[in-house]
Subunit: 137 residues, 2 copies
């Protein structure tokens, strides 16, 4: 299950360390697109000696190497996403919840739209939806 991750690390010439594996697993298991703090809290139990600085360094390097993504928010606290496939996000206005939203039809619709409609002076690389609203409790 972390096999994919270990392979990816090697591909990128990054060493497979227990810290990296633990941090990656934390992001995968913690739903809701965790913060660095969430990760630290989560791994504390099984890896009490991983330091805060390491967590931040690992997160940065995983983002840089495209094994994680940063999630755009309007908070100054960073959040991370382990899902790399093309998907959108649901942002709850009441809680801090952010959930993934996959919708292939929507992707097709949008990419068709922009196949015709070019944006002047801008070369589109990727399009994501931020869907804001409320989860039904």
């Amino acid at each position: 299950m972390t096999h994919f991750f270990r392979e990816k690390l090697k591909e990128r010439g990054l060493k497979v360390t227990p810290q990296r594996v633990a941090i990656y697993e934390a992001i995968v298991n913690l739903k809701n697109h965790p913060t660095a703090e969430n990760v630290i809290e989560y791994i504390k139990t099984n890896h009490p000696n991983i330091s805060v600085g390491t967590v931040y360094k690992v997160l940065d390097s995983l983002v840089e190497n495209e094994l994680l993504k940063k999630v755009k928010t309007e908070k100054d606290i960073m959040r991370y996403d382990a899902i790399l496939s093309n998907h959108h996000h649901l942002y709850c206005i009441e809680t801090e919840r952010i959930e993934d939203y996959e919708d292939e039809n929507l992707n097709v619709l949008i990419s068709n739209y922009f196949k015709n409609k070019k944006i002047k002076n801008f070369k589109v690389q990727d399009i994501k939806l931020q869907i804001t609203g409320k989860f039904n409790k």
Copy 2:
């Protein structure tokens, strides 16, 4: 030109202070969705005595009262937008530039799509596109 702004302040029961006006003007004039620092830098010339704390307080209160919006980014530095109408954002992957993108056809397309396709357990309130790519120099 700041008339709209002054009216809105009154509507909300907020006092019209020179600080608030200056900060709002800064956001409007600074394109590229400025940070608090950008605002501070900008108003320093004409209002050298507005304090940093005030800028943050004013920004917060204007966001809370819907006279400004926070822009979602993957940076831990907050950025602000004075344009309240429904629009999307172009994010440049090379520079920090964020530009507004208005496209009524697109808005219609998307709102039609979600008129039929409901998201389970989620009540949509607003949908924004993050269009990532590159500006042609």
